[in-house]
Amino acid sequence: MKCLINALIGLIFSFAVDMASAAAEPTSNSASPVIRTAVNSPKDRSCRAAYRDLFAQGSVSIRVVFGYKDTRPARFVGDRHERLAFVQRILRPCAASSPDQACGFIRDNDNADLFSKTIPGIDGKPVRVELFVASSSVSSDDEANRANPFQKWQSSYAQKAYLGGIDKADVVFYNGHSRFGGGPDFEPPHLAANGEVDQKLYQSKRPGLNATIKTLSVRARANDRTDLKVLGLFSCASSQHFAAEIVAGSKAAYISSRALVYYADAIENSLSALSALLEMRCEKDFNRSLRSQTPESGSQLLGLFKEH
């Protein structure tokens, strides 16, 4: 029954995305190689409005936080490596021949997780991009991490980076485990008596989702800051696990995955989403960059391009 409910939620969500994409399609020439952006599509009012709003302050704050990526029953933990693969990509120089914008960042001297660059905004004015990229584990060995006092600090740091981003940043991406709907999660997992991840605990308490919803609601009530613009959860079946609560509790656009996400796809999709935002891609091309039509590997965006 739960499987059926999950499937129905996913169905409704995927239809909403498809319908929204279709509505935003500017012409019938879907094979056009030109990427539609807020800059080259002046008639696409919802696209231009979305990026005017995102870049209104002349800067944009983006956080990418990798959750604790254990591989139980194996001991390997992967988020440090996945984060480093991500970081290497954003530090590469941008190629003149490519529209890709997940590149060309410069790292802060004394904060290994802070990166920045400047891009031209919708009207050509410079926009400063501040990108914070953190991970959750201190080594690749889950058992060693549990015995390392530094792990507690790192988990707390990653969680604060994530929730602090939901409270204050413009864009937050989470790349990690869904924990059966109890994620996002930044700590070594709670284990059941049999040594497996405690599915019942995560499903009943939903600690990560509850903290997310609570922080989103605090921000929604606050008068001293703008709304979170985009929340991307690059985790397994995040459309089914989290969409209903997050869409109900926030005005933020939501990027999610319909299927179980392979780690390499999650990295690619989060880089694509970062680039699409900075390229100012309009809806159809944004979702194309996320491979939204390929559920087994892609993600999808909903709610950034609102009707005007």
Binding site: F15, L84, Q88, A112, V138, W153, F180, P295
Partner: protein, 283 residues
């Protein structure tokens, strides 16, 4: 109602299309979208299905077992096929399959590819295949590649991945090599070098690297210094490693910090100097 010469109107077709799409999506969702559900593997598979099966290798134990059985049954999914796949768009999946099927005969070929391992996942796959038979070959290869006198052509991610088994197995690196890694352009490599030092000191009782902890404490970024402070705190709790700490030098390094980090760092030193330093400091 006037009789129509057509069985369905355009609107009917539209709704039929929508309903067909809905049912198709529903079926796909039922098949792929629920974590923890076992995906039943058919009796036999074509090699073209290997990527779909490989994605299931990292899922629940039930899915993983079924996927591994199916992958093993694919006749054409042999080492030669996977070697070719390493050069294509499904490189990560090929590495996972090589690792999951324990194709250790590919280790020499994988070692030859380390210089092109941009994301470190190839070295991690080698690490996952390490056994007694191949340990010496792999370790020798890693030690040569980490030698600072050789051209540094390896990605930061590959360097980080190569350091891991060396730390876990207690393979000694020269102080010069570790010192060099602690000065790497990428903070992630510096952090991995300090993690190696931690393992050598705490797990293998090595006395050679304590000066490198202080070096890290005087380095950038802040994250590396915090990692060093935690290691100092751990060393201070063990009599055998406490004696390796030059607390006055560490205290001087703490003075360069600001705010709560400075206070915490000073607290670690103060506690280490006390005769009974076995309570846990928290930043």
């Amino acid at each position: 109602m006037a009789p129509s010469s057509h069985l369905f109107t355009a609107s009917d077709f539209l709704w039929m299309a929508v309903m067909f799409r809905a049912l198709t999506t529903l079926l796909i969702s039922l098949l792929v979208a629920t974590p923890g559900d076992a995906v039943a593997a058919p009796a036999s598979h074509e090699v073209s299905q290997w990527t779909r099966l490989a994605r299931q290798v990292g899922q629940s134990e039930t899915s993983r077992s079924a996927a591994l059985r199916a992958l093993r049954d694919i006749k054409d999914l042999n080492p030669t096929f996977l070697q070719k796949a390493l050069d294509g768009p499904h490189r990560a999946l090929a590495l996972d399959v090589i690792s999951a099927l324990e194709l250790r005969q590919l280790i020499p070929d994988l070692l030859n590819r380390v210089s092109s391992d941009e994301d470190g996942f190839l070295v991690l796959a080698i690490n996952s295949l390490l056994d007694e038979e191949h340990k010496d070959l792999v370790i020798k290869s890693y030690l040569e590649r980490l030698d600072p006198s050789r051209p540094q052509i390896y990605s930061p991610a590959a360097l980080v991945a190569m350091l891991e088994p060396l730390g876990r197995l207690g393979i000694p690196l020269s102080k010069e090599t570790v010192g060099h890694l602690l000065e790497h352009e990428y903070p992630e490599v510096r952090s991995a070098a300090l993690l190696y030092v931690r393992s050598q000191i705490l797990n293998f009782n090595s006395r050679d690297y304590s000066a490198l902890v202080v070096k890290a404490l005087n380095s950038s970024p802040l994250q590396l210094r915090l990692q060093a402070m935690y290691l100092i705190d751990e060393m201070a709790k063990k009599p055998t490693t406490k004696s390796l700490l030059d607390l006055d030098t560490i205290a001087a390094a703490c003075q360069k910090e600001k705010g709560s980090v400075k206070d915490w760092c000073a607290g670690v030193v103060k506690k280490a100097k006390s005769p009974q330093s076995n309570s846990e400091a928290k930043p």
